[in-house]
């Protein structure tokens, strides 16, 4: 994690146990005790089942750019929340809050996505807390 602009948000409710709903096991892949907030430029959006993934270039404090992958909910779940496949595009600047992969790779389960251009918060339809 050295040099990456990973902000440890500290203990929160989201740091508690968080098993999965839906199409993968959250707890097998992500660590709710590793909350991160990252800002970057979208490089690719995979609007596909079972979960949408998008990728963004994130610059660390030294100026080094790394590509990160972010998992959202299913396309159907996102559609029901008002997203479309065109809501986020390559080149958009976004800030993502989520939980980092357990294995320390550059993968994040996103809870929320905020578009820098408008400040609009796009829900992530995370698999972490989708029940309600």
């Amino acid at each position: 994690m050295r040099n990456l602009i990973v902000i440890v948000i500290g203990f929160s409710l989201l740091a508690a146990a968080a098993p999965a709903v839906a199409h993968h096991s959250f707890a097998a892949e992500f660590d709710a005790n590793k909350p991160v907030t990252l800002t970057g430029t979208v490089t690719k959006v995979e609007w596909m089942n079972p979960h949408v993934w998008f990728y963004a270039d994130v610059k660390d404090e030294t100026g080094k750019v790394s590509n990160w992958g972010f998992e959202l909910g299913s396309p159907n779940g996102l559609m029901r929340s008002g997203w479309t496949r065109n809501s986020m595009k390559t080149g958009d600047s976004v800030t993502v809050e989520g939980s980092r992969a357990k294995d320390g790779s550059n993968h994040v389960n996103a809870r929320s996505v905020t578009l820098a251009s408008t400040g609009q918060k796009l829900f992530a339809a995370s698999s972490q807390n989708q029940q309600q």
Partner: protein, 312 residues
């Protein structure tokens, strides 16, 4: 309970904000095509009258046809883990991604409510598991439920299908009832033509088992055997997200009632002497979903979960 702040301290390490300001394109915010479902009872303002009378088929049976979502609120995972109480709920930042769950008022005469994570969460002492079942559940939880069929785009078992947040559609005919699940594109046949259950294990166990149904008054009684139990593969025999198992010996009896237009009650009895020391029954409630419907969901389109966690 006091909830610590989630805000990072502003003075900490600098946040490099890449200031690329590209305006959101002008494309309209479109959703799944809106439609107004005909035949749904509504008040003057157009709201669905969930308490309206039960629809019936021409032969007088309750008509269970239509789209349904689970109605019962699941305890938060954190509640199940005993980490937080319900007061902490407002602190959550997760969002609903499926049609919202609105519970019905509690029914004192109902069996304990099932929950998606723990089928027996509301049963005193939990599910009456045998040593065999307890060991399987322990193994499954030790690997964070990664083999849950739901997590692997597979048929997830009758009870997980009943409670999965994605909607399902019931199509009822006099001789066959079909349940079509958005979740993992599940499909269940319930034969209503008077046939009997085949012998257990013959000709072979199935993901969704073999189901025959009959009417007892206004209650649809569905019996199911020939289910693929936990003996088969790690993906078989899951009752809930936490991996409470069932075996090849399992027999399910489901009692479906539709007391009003908007409510479907499903009492599920599991009789499986290999997994449970005695049969048990839980209640699952579903709510009618008007003006919405299951959407195509081809789960394996881009499923990379097992590669990412490096088990395949």
């Amino acid at each position: 309970m006091k909830v610590p702040t989630t805000n990072p301290s502003p003075g900490r390490r600098g946040i490099v904000v890449i200031a690329v300001s590209i305006a959101l394109s002008g494309s309209a915010w479109a959703q799944w095509p809106k439609f107004k479902e005909p035949g749904v009872p509504r008040d003057a303002r157009g709201s669905v009258q969930m308490d309206a009378k039960t629809p019936r088929t021409p032969d007088g049976k309750p008509d269970l046809s239509g789209d349904w979502v689970r109605a019962d609120r699941d305890p938060l995972p954190q509640e199940l883990a005993g980490v937080v109480t319900r007061q902490g709920e407002t602190q959550r930042t997760g969002v609903a991604v499926e049609p919202p769950t609105t519970p019905f008022p509690p029914d004192r005469n109902a069996p304990p409510l099932a929950t998606f994570f723990e089928l027996g969460a509301n049963i005193q002492g939990g599910l009456p598991m045998t040593t065999w079942a307890t060991e399987i559940k322990k193994q499954r939880m030790a690997t964070n439920d990664r083999d849950n069929p739901d997590a692997n785009c597979l048929p997830m078992g009758l009870t997980q299908f009943h409670m999965q947040p994605q909607p399902r559609k019931i199509v009822q005919t006099p001789t066959l009832i079909v349940i079509l699940y958005e979740a993992n594109y599940g499909l269940r046949y319930i034969y209503m033509d008077g046939r009997s259950l085949p012998p257990q294990g013959e000709p072979q166990p199935l993901w969704n088992g073999y189901s025959v149904g009959r009417w007892e008054g206004d209650t649809l009684v569905v019996e199911t055997n020939n289910l693929r139990g936990a003996e088969n593969t790690p993906y078989d025999g899951w009752l809930d997200v936490r991996g409470s198992p069932y075996s090849d010996q399992a027999k399910f009896v489901e009692r479906f009632r539709r007391p009003t237009f908007g409510k479907l009650e499903i009492d599920v009895t599991v009789d499986d002497p290999k997994s449970f020391t005695k049969p048990f029954t839980v209640r699952i409630n579903q709510r009618y979903l008007a003006d919405d419907e299951p959407i195509e969901f081809v789960c394996n389109e881009n499923q990379q979960f097992r590669q990412r966690i490096k088990v395949d």
